[in-house]
Symmetry: C2
Subunit: 458 residues, 2 copies
């Protein structure tokens, strides 16, 4: 765009929307960038919410990265809080929206960036709107949960969904003194991991007081006589509950885009190319509302994570400002922790890898975080998923109280670079007694995997 | 070797020697493997010694990985403690040695593995043999230091040399209540790092009570009237000292090999090929006594580390047993820590990189170990060394109280794989508030580096 007064409109002011706006302004300070945000919060961090509920983060202001005044004055972005986009007209290149008084107006754009994010899934069962039933997606949700706990002193909590947010919330509520049951409809917790890795994590969580029920789909929520939640029915059994957290994951917010005729991808999110361009000229998308290219599988996937959103936002913002940036694609990396144990994964889990490549194998190893002779080594379980005909790494997982992040980080670069288990078996990893072993658990699991590559029929 | 009764002789029974012996036996259980060890210890870990001196490791037996009985009975290795190799005759294929009674005998071999290790450097100054002056290389040294401290209750210690062992010993002695001064003849501590990284580490060590004097070469050690150490003279000044630890690094033990006509490499260690073969047929070498191929520089270097030794040992052992293994080469990775801070590096430091590649640049960034809004983020300094014309990573360093190991691990795989700063800038690294930031410090330093690649004259 040679005309510096051209207008970029961004829908959404969380990680992706503001990240894109900032990237556009950074490339061309003279651009006119307007960001519409339907809530009263901009630049907030959903990842921090469980820690705010649990009290580890005390000040709610810490959950937003930049004050509106800074966004407006220092970054030069026309941030419009409580302005809601109602529709997009891609032919006329304008967005119809409402302002803070709910008055409609029309905003023209030269380039549009859709960063509408995702919304928590709410299961279609009776009682989900009872008082005391919450989802957790934004600062308002977290404040409502904190207030409810302060006002009602619940003793028993049920968390529905044993993914990262569910487990983080289960830990937070346990720290607040509640007795917590986690319900998961699938046979395992943490479905971004293989079942044996999830099982290792589950043992630790149970040892720390969580009651976890797998194969337990939520059937209904039963209010008490005061209309607030009293119990939960799941897999035929009833569990007393004074508070319920629904943590079933999120669904991309695509209706604005869909109604505007913008293509939606197979995974149900907005389809974009590597430049974050949608199917419609001059319209970009970034963050939880759009899909990502998984580098290992070559497929388009939904991966609603801040890490992905911020990288896509930078590409979308730069390109909307006339740049030519490219998204590298993702590995599907994720990490979380509860009760001192860390769960981390990257690449494909075994099941997905087998769908992608018939020769996919996996190898697990239970090692230690550091030299056995140095005090307090902690169990550390690693798993490699690899192609048996080439040894190439397709994915990796690490679970343990110490050293899981360090191992997954080595394995992330390795997966990205297409290294093989033979490369890993001799990789010059660091060792000193407090930090590892001269044969790191990565070496051990890689050597175990290597023997299976060698034995494979060619 | 088709003849199963063929004989492998190994000189040295520490990490490299025993590792090689075990690898040979593993490949062919029927081989006759004899290991000569001049000390009374086999399979001991020098890396654990500072922690034994400091009392964190209480039981000396924890410093050996396998009891002699296990090595002999379970592993089937003819381990001969207190047997010393005197000479090697590579034409007659035999080793002349002395037994426990110092009687000479001759041992024939089909394949020989030299794993003679390295010995501490002792500076050629007056007073180094005073009582109370120690080097630290083996369990006997560590026990002597512990006994000396128990018997003499020294109050002031001087550690000469501010490398990893020197700093680990300085921490150990501080924990035991001594006042510790560290002398380093060079202008910086930790020469495996760039000066600014070492400076950041030094501040932390000084804040924890260490007195560190750089540019302070040891001139002499002055005994007191009882003949034990009383003070140290360095760079013209005198420092009171009740105990002195010489930690100036090690020198490869090559005299046996050299006298046998085996080629010594430029770096002063035994020259080997990627199969750990020396210049003489049927003679292999592994560990601190031999050189390693540095993958980034393509040069042969001395890197006396357990990690390197054990990998070389496996290759030497397999090949001596008739295998065809190859050493992958090293990245020069090392790690250490003191007073809660971790110092880690891989690849080339800036100075070495500039010698290797005229376009080498470096970029440092002081970030945080995890999200600023989650309690207690710790400063974490990263440095990338890269080729400005291609962006390829040539080396990396990480110093911090939290997260340094995780970052160096990602950067080790990246350096090994030849990734660029542009790859790293979009790498799908994990993030959750307790473990990182959505833009990891690796991303930030890589983006800073990327701008300098883009600006480079082509």
């Amino acid at each position: 765009m040679s005309n510096n007064s051209q207008k970029i409109v961004v829908i959404g002011a969380q990680a992706a929307g503001l990240g894109a706006a900032a990237a556009a302004k950074k490339l061309n300070r003279k651009l006119n960038v307007t960001v519409l945000e339907q809530s009263i919060y901009a630049s907030s961090s959903p990842c921090g919410l469980p820690y705010f509920v649990g009290g580890e983060i005390e000040d709610v202001r810490k959950l937003t990265f930049a004050e509106p005044a800074i966004i407006r004055d220092r970054m030069g972005i026309d941030l419009r809080l409580e302005h809601k986009a109602l529709s997009i007209n891609t032919k006329a290149k304008c967005v119809t929206c409402t302002d803070i008084n709910e008055s409609q107006y029309v905003l023209e754009y030269d380039r549009l960036i859709i960063a509408t994010g995702a919304s928590p899934k709410v299961p279609p069962v009776e009682g989900v709107d009872a008082e005391g039933v919450f989802t957790l997606r934004n600062i308002g949700d977290a404040e409502r949960i904190r207030n409810y706990i302060a006002d009602n002193s619940p003793r028993k909590a049920v968390v529905v969904g044993a993914g990262y947010i569910g487990l983080e919330m289960a830990e937070a509520l346990t720290h607040l003194g509640l007795e917590v049951t986690v319900l998961e409809m699938l046979p395992q917790i943490l479905t971004s991991m293989d079942p044996d890795m999830a099982e290792f994590a589950q043992q630790h969580l149970e040892n720390n007081g969580l009651l976890i029920k797998t194969n337990s789909a939520l059937e209904k929520i039963v209010p008490n006589e005061r209309g607030s939640v009293g119990s939960v029915v799941a897999a035929g059994g009833t569990i007393d509950a004074d508070i319920v957290i629904l943590a079933l994951g999120v669904r991309p917010n695509i209706s604005l885009a869909k109604e505007a005729g913008i293509e939606i991808g197979e995974c149900g999110a907005i389809a974009v190319d590597e430049g974050q361009r949608t199917s419609v000229p001059d319209v970009f998308a970034a963050g939880d509302c759009c899909q990502s290219l998984h580098i290992v599988s070559g497929r388009q996937v939904c991966m609603p994570l801040a890490t992905v959103a911020e990288k896509q936002a930078r590409v979308a913002g730069e390109n909307a400002a006339g740049g030519n940036a490219k998204s590298a694609g993702i590995l599907g990396t994720s990490i979380s922790g509860a009760f001192g144990m860390v769960f981390a994964s990257t690449g494909l889990i075994t099941e997905a890898a087998k769908n992608h490549c018939s020769g996919a194998l996996s190898q697990a190893f239970m090692g230690h975080s550091h030299a056995a002779y140095y005090p307090n080594p902690r169990p550390l379980k690693l798993k490699l998923i690899f192609d048996q005909s080439t040894g190439r790494i397709l994915g990796a997982q690490a679970v343990g109280e110490e050293g899981a992040l360090a191992r997954i980080n080595a394995l992330i670069s390795a997966t990205y670079a297409g290294l093989t288990v033979a490369d890993l078996a001799q990789l010059d990893l660091p060792y000193a007694p407090p930090f590892g072993s001269s044969w790191d658990p990565i070496h051990v699991v890689s050597m175990m995997a290597m023997r299976r590559v060698r034995l494979s029929p060619e």
